[in-house]
Symmetry: C2
Subunit: 200 residues, 2 copies
């Protein structure tokens, strides 16, 4: 039987990463998130901060403009290099055994090679604003503005590198509103779904 | 405590109606689907067939053209009359007690007045094509074409009468791919979520 991979896409501030970590712990399998960034950093020599941002978010400002500038003679950019490394790291991890992978377009990257439970976690702007202030603290910019900017840039990144419409219900086997359902219950539902697939 | 309403929006052929019926049976609460059509038919004198189609689907052909023709002096059309009756019937049903309501924009109609678990059921075109041939039999038109036409018209209807983007993940507390997860498991997950909300 193929390894069972759980991919978690999420809106910033929805608690998707926390759900991934708790789920993996409950199932006794690894959760990859920071590990992917570390490995790409090691292989590329780029900083973790750069990879954290550039492997999921379009740059601020005009994304298309940015995407088309800074390319070498073959049309490759540093963002493309991160994308290619990200693809290969994620594919390697998925080959090692069952795991949870948070974000980083893993659902798209593994769509043809792995057996994935594809999950999307979201919540209302209000609930996410509450959460990011609690988790990351206050910033000069309002929490809602931070969220809208993050949402916009993540969506643009997905549209550029994949043919998946980020947040379109048809791309996910299950989507959950963590603000209404609660993180604990989300973990429980996903653990149960994983077990059911495993028993088949 | 307010009544708990479960609204099920679904792609045609995804088994959303079957899930609604089995879920209601499991929970010992009513499932409204055909009942809504009957009640509107009784109050309006229109045929059930007309209401079944016109309360969820934009007409074939140019929907905007159709939506703007056939209106009386006050700009009202027969579709608007069905929409208004549908709203009032659904609101009355939601006031009577816990229930499952399948389709008919119930999620939108009840968004401000009831405590809803908002669900969306979908499946791949292949799985749905298989299912509609099994349930409704062969037709002259190919199952995929029938599905694409239904999807397009339901989406157009939602866009005209609500400000909800049909199938956008952010409008639902939970969405499930019935083709992957299976009807039985969908029912189990939703029954569990309802019970958890009820116990709160």
């Amino acid at each position: 039987m193929k390894h069972q991979i759980i991919t978690i896409s999420r809106e910033f501030g929805s608690g998707g990463r926390t759900i991934g970590k708790q789920l993996a712990q409950k199932l006794g399998i690894p959760c990859y998130d920071e590990e992917i960034i570390n490995q790409i950093a090691e292989e590329s020599g780029l900083t973790k901060e750069f990879i954290r941002e550039s492997g999921e978010y379009a740059p601020s400002g005009s994304w298309l403009g940015n995407a088309l500038t800074g390319r070498d003679l073959y049309g490759r950019s540093i963002n493309d290099a991160v994308w290619n490394l990200q693809k290969s790291v994620i594919q390697q991890l998925a080959e090692q055994g069952d795991c949870v992978i948070v974000g980083r377009c893993a659902d798209y990257i593994l769509r043809e090679t792995a057996d994935c439970l594809t999950v999307f976690i979201h919540a209302s702007l209000e609930k996410r604003a509450e959460r990011i202030v609690k988790v990351y603290g206050e910033r000069e910019e309002s929490p809602k503005k931070r969220l809208q900017d993050k949402d916009r840039r993540r969506k643009a990144y997905y549209q550029f590198y994949t043919d998946v419409k980020w947040g379109d219900v048809r791309n996910y086997q299950i989507t959950l509103d963590s603000g209404v359902i609660g993180i604990e219950k989300c973990v429980e539902i996903l653990a149960d779904l994983y077990q059911t697939k495993r028993e088949k």
